[in-house]
Amino acid sequence: GDTEVRTLKMAHTLDQTHPVHQGIVFMADRLEEVSGGKMTIDIYPGGQLGSERELMELLQIGSLAMTKVSSSPMEGFVPAMKVFNVPYVFRDNEHFWRVLNSEEGKELLLAGDSVNLRGLGYFDAGSRSFYNVDTPVYKPEDLTGQKIRVQQSQTALQMVKSLGGSPTPISWGELYTALSQGVVDGAENNPPSFYTSKHYEVCKYYTLNEHTSVPDIVLISSYIWNNLDQQEQVWLQQAMDDAVVYQRKLWAEKTQEALDAVQEAGVTVIRPDKKPFMDKVQAMHESYKGTEIYDLIQTFKAM
């Protein structure tokens, strides 16, 4: 009936202090506001309903409405997402957001609709950079022989390899121990994650080489989306778009906070010349020739 409230179940893997979680909370509040209480989002944080890959599967199965994923685990579902794991496609943050907000960026968001994963919007997840236990990295050569933890993704593996490190896939949960016991020598992530994961307790050098800018993507199951009436779709999209603006500002603040805090804790933050790093990955860019990824890289670079 008319009085019924539409509740969407949304699960993700981040903890509740994470700026992306706070963006999602903002989105839920906004949705209640714009829909006059007719729609709400129930949030399940902290991976209590599964890993990112599993949550996407649950969207495909239809037992979960929404999730937030990083574009790396999305590679297995939507191959075009690989483009975000290719290093140095974007010149800077401004370029990055110009691409995301362009027609091509929006098209990419909908690329998963055919596999029941419809993108609603991009959240800022900053740029990923290397951190090392006891080796300061100023130039790519400093990565030689360093075992760097990567996410389970072929693109991430190639990325570290092309920059000169030895990529080592280790699960995020095992990483703190692996770093402190020396199983790996370093890892790579954005400043807020470096801070909240406490990896700065072990890794004393953080090199802001910013090799990849990997957005977080809010997804809705296409079944659920198609079941919403047009008005509901408009409300949901409105809440998403407002949350994106809010979350970008929050992310910038949290990044600065994180960098201040790790330096306070004794971490040396290095701001290297990015040119030698960029030069190193040209061969990797070329290796995509003849694939849709190559075309995407070229389109993005030209923007």
């Binding site: 179940k9 903890d15 509740q16 202090t17 129930d42 399940y44 944080p45 902290g46 991976g47 209590q48 309903l49 599964g50 890993s51 599993e54 599967e57 649950l58 199965i61 239809g62 037992s63 280790i170 699960s171 949960g173 095992e174 703190y176 121990t177 692996a178 402190s180 016991q181 020396g182 199983v183 909240t196 994961s197 406490k198 307790e201």
Partner: protein, 435 residues
């Protein structure tokens, strides 16, 4: 109360009493409860997906590998030599072998960070060995199960890392140091139980050995002792992770028992491998369906609803803390540790902090509390592994476990009401500032 909870509990208890395999009972009950909110088709697919996801974990590899190395150590003469060695050291104490068991489980749990791995690795040979020496099998299994959980408090410990994330920022280094005292206290309290138990049942007390005997047994045990050096050294030295250490244990015990001691013949190996799969699979199916159940509970917001109802009962700080502990013990009975930490930290930590508890103190208390849940039926990973290895029934383990639950609860109360037990060491090492 939520109808889905009623259906879950009734279905599960009825199937349990009728002796349906627990793993399958959990799966059926979960599916039945799920049907209240999810359609038949997606519910069946979701249970199947959660089952596969529950087992799809690298950290769980420690289970099959330590089960396998346990079998090899048992048949290959490694376990025998290690225990002979331990016997000449502390066999003359009442309940000496039980002490050996507790120390082994604590050490092993400490380095591997996995209670399940400790139970399978140590229990695999300690349970039958103790039985041969005249100890009751169920008692042996209970000792193994209870003492294996100490490794979750003594670093490294994945569950404390999970807590650090869930609590939004307690230092992992501080948590690790904080876990030592409570972990050791649990081990000591279990030893006290064993000493009393052994005296009451007149368990064999070994004689004091001669110096010559000590020398010979030590020399005999050196290659076997090297296994421990290899595993601990490898982890500490950063050559491999705790999970990978389990495969190193397999390789070393394989070489030692087949080529050095020659007590296992190569044609016997296939049967040993199949045997290890069987034990592993019993545990894996339990983990699989428990994962589905934990998922369903979270999905229906059941833990939050129940605790909200219970927390409204009092405003006395002592009672509130007691209530939190009772709820967590209850949670631990039905839920696995990782989801429990993820779900309940955000619910209880703010309450605890209002009572003046530090997040560090609360985390240690919570993990210790949930450790007890790991060895209580119906859902307790360590208990399952213990039963699987000893091929005994859960019902038979309850009686010998009772005094051990009591000992662990005493330590839990100490940790809950005496903050210094958790906070002294981290403060002393400058990793933490007590308020």
């Amino acid at each position: 109360m939520d109808w889905s909870v009623v259906v879950l509990l009734v279905t599960f208890v009825v199937l349990l009493i009728l002796n349906v395999p627990i793993s399958i009972g959990i799966g059926v009950a979960t599916f039945a409860a799920m049907l209240f909110t999810i359609d038949f088709g997606p519910a069946a697919v979701t249970v199947a997906q959660r089952m596969a996801s529950g087992v799809n974990s690298f950290a769980l590899l420690a289970i099959p590998f330590f089960v396998l190395s346990g079998l090899l150590m048992g048949r290959g003469g490694i376990a025998h030599r290690l225990i002979e060695f331990a016997k000449v050291l502390i066999g003359m104490l009442p309940g000496g072998l039980a002490f050996v068991n507790i120390i082994s489980c604590t050490l092993f749990g400490a380095i591997s960070g996995s209670a399940v791995a400790a139970t399978s690795a140590i229990g695999g040979f300690m349970i039958p060995t103790m039985e041969k020496e005249g100890y009751d099998k169920n008692f042996n299994t209970a000792v193994t199960v209870a003492s294996s959980t100490t490794g979750l408090l003594i670093p490294p410990s994945n569950i404390l890392i999970v807590y650090s994330l869930a609590s939004g920022g307690v230092s992992i280094a501080a948590l690790f140091i904080a876990g030592y005292l409570p972990g050791i206290l649990v081990a000591l309290s279990l030893m006290a139980v064993c000493a009393v138990y052994a005296k009451m049942h007149g368990y064999p007390v070994g004689r004091v050995p001669s110096i010559k005997e000590v020398g010979k047994k030590t020399l005999d045990a050196i290659p076997s002792l090297f296994l421990i050096v290899l595993v601990i050294g490898g982890i500490v030295g950063g050559f491999f992770t705790a999970t990978e250490a389990s495969v190193i244990a397999v390789l070393y015990s394989l070489i030692l028992s087949v080529f050095i001691y020659k007590e296992v013949k190569i044609p016997e190996l296939p049967e040993i491998f199949i045997k290890s799969v069987e034990t592993t699979a019993i545990v894996m199916l339990l983990i699989a369906t428990s994962t589905a159940m934990s998922w369903m509970l979270s999905y229906e917001n059941i833990p939050q609803n129940i605790s909200a109802a219970l927390m409204g009962l009092s405003d006395n700080p002592f009672i509130i803390l007691l209530t939190i502990n009772l709820i967590l013990l209850l949670v631990g009975i039905f839920m696995d540790m990782t989801p429990a930490v993820l779900i309940f930290t955000p619910i209880f930590l703010p309450v605890a902090m209002e009572l003046g508890m530090s997040p560090l103190h609360f985390g240690i208390m919570m993990v210790l509390n949930l450790c007890i849940g790991l060895c209580t039926p119906p859902v307790g990973a360590v208990l399952f592994v213990g039963c699987g290895i000893a091929k005994t029934s859960i019902a038979k383990l309850i009686k010998p476990l009772m005094p051990m639950y009591a000992a662990m609860i005493v330590v839990l109360m100490l940790v809950a009401y005496v903050p210094a037990i958790s906070e002294f060491l981290p403060t002393f090492f400058g990793l933490y500032e007590a308020k």
